[in-house]
Symmetry: C2
Amino acid sequence: MQGNMLIAHGGGPTPVINASLYGALIAAKDAAQIGNIYAAHYGIEGVFAEDFIDLRAQSDEDIALLPYTPASAVGSCRRKLKSDDYPVLLEKFKKYGIRYFFYNGGNDSMDTCNKIAGLAKSSGYDMKVIGIPKTIDNDLCRTNHCPGYGSSARYYAVTAAELKQDVMSLPIHVVVMEVMGRNAGWLTAATAFAEPDLIYLPEVAFDKEAFLSDIKRLWNTKKGILVCASEGIRYADGKMVADSGIVDGFGHTVPGGAAQSLADMIMTETGIKARGEKPGLIGRTSVALQTERDRNEAIAAGRFAVESALQGKTGFMVSIAADGSLSLVPLGDVANAERKFPLEWIVNGNRISDAFKAYAAPLVGEMPKFSKLEGRT
Amino acid sequence: MQGNMLIAHGGGPTPVINASLYGALIAAKDAAQIGNIYAAHYGIEGVFAEDFIDLRAQSDEDIALLPYTPASAVGSCRRKLKSDDYPVLLEKFKKYGIRYFFYNGGNDSMDTCNKIAGLAKSSGYDMKVIGIPKTIDNDLCRTNHCPGYGSSARYYAVTAAELKQDVMSLPIHVVVMEVMGRNAGWLTAATAFAEPDLIYLPEVAFDKEAFLSDIKRLWNTKKGILVCASEGIRYADGKMVADSGIVDGFGHTVPGGAAQSLADMIMTETGIKARGEKPGLIGRTSVALQTERDRNEAIAAGRFAVESALQGKTGFMVSIAADGSLSLVPLGDVANAERKFPLEWIVNGNRISDAFKAYAAPLVGEMPKFSKLEGRT
């Protein structure tokens, strides 16, 4: 089938989403069946607005830089589609002669992708639709891991190791680092490679009394303590720990952050000095801690999506095996499903098992080696 | 003079303080005049406690890793010395036959160093004392820049550039990044290399009305906005912006953070979505963004300190010129003085002049190049 191609990004960026864009573009440029190569500007919003970036018009340098460029080079959005949005999208695809559509995103995006593939089929419009996985949260089903997770996991693992060095060398406080992943603990678990003192995933109800008791116990044996906590930790009653409960003059709740909330909790209830660090979005943008494997897999996933569509495949997502090999899984199996962090990998509510480390070590890569001076007088 | 050597770290670590330790150790190991080489464990506290690390006993690998190890490999402290502490220190130096003392720190440490040098001289104890500069804050006088500043400045410049990519690619909010440096804006100014929308240094009284008006004006033209602000910004009356004014049940003020405070302010007063990111201590521990120049200069400064002491010099701090060449300046000129950020480099209270960039560019190094896709349909 001869036609134009469109690729779009959905949701929050990852350190390697542009690497998948690069892979897809490289594969498409060489394909005789593909005419124009468009990227939707600001995700699916760009399709509604007919705002496209002409990927064939880009300089070699800008294309070569894509795998090393953080965030989305073509823009993304968080628009939740309604059922009557889909026919509008289909009209846009027809208007621009799109016969190959690639959607690079997470669970929501795979649901959108699945619905678009279904609508094209049911309405007799021949368009090949393939989803390219992307999420730092690692919560897509039917794939061993997701492009973006490895780099972001390495960011948190290495950063926790560096913070641990700092807190051990000037042991005057408890340092709490906040980790992205509101509902899934995959990223927070990666800090286990740094062996912090306590780790809190959103999958476990946060127990304030146990936490404060652990902090006091640890403080009695050493002064420098590192805690890693998900931004999404909640109490047993479902209330967010980050929800300070403070209401401003306008009646809005001041959101706060999980790390600062835990630091405040430590200071006010134990008198121990504490500080909260929140790299926040930095956890998904750091190019310096992007892993080579993640970058290469993201490129390969983009390339494989295009190659599969050119072979007539549609309605699938690219899946990555533990050994990095690629295959296709039906979008319907992935759409809106969530891959949960295995609860049996959480030990005592505040530690991570070696089973997780065995899973994640090939993705996070080798941890940096630091000097350990000994030989006291 | 034949004798033992002692080196100590003072205050907060930098990304390259262990590089200076490495340089000093390498120079000392080869010197016939130096017997034992001690590092004080946890800074000057280790001298009082007679808790020393034998640097001659370290493995080649641990020594080679020092320049790439974040935080302090021998430990540091924030103890403020009192006048009657000095005679105690001198007794410890005598007891351990210390004839060469090196103190690696900032303003306070250089004051301590100066007093120790003075006391040794006045009491007739022959000990060579040299200060090695160290501070990410870059606020030491009589040196073009300080080891630690270049790497930390690069961390904030590159991180701001990455965050800007993120906020531009998914323009749904204002992102505020908090930068270390409570009293000095040198680090916050480094974010100018990323050209964020607004920059707030602690040297300028923070004007809430002007800030909110700037945010609203920017939001009307584009949605993705990046603000970089020092952790130490204050209102004209001296009140910290980070001071939320919220008092907990124990009567303590909940400290909060500058970035989260600004994000809360934006959300509650304009209704625009905002988030605050606070890398915090990560800004002084990142090895991935450590610069080669900073590492090499830190090594050279440690080496030069030892070589100078072996030549009989005492009572000086190592100073670094713009071209990286080293010299000695009297500790008395540096002790407790503070190198202010030039106010004429701050434009309109929220931008940084090219004069700063001309100063800092050789220290921050080349900014990463990102792909810029154009060619809209």
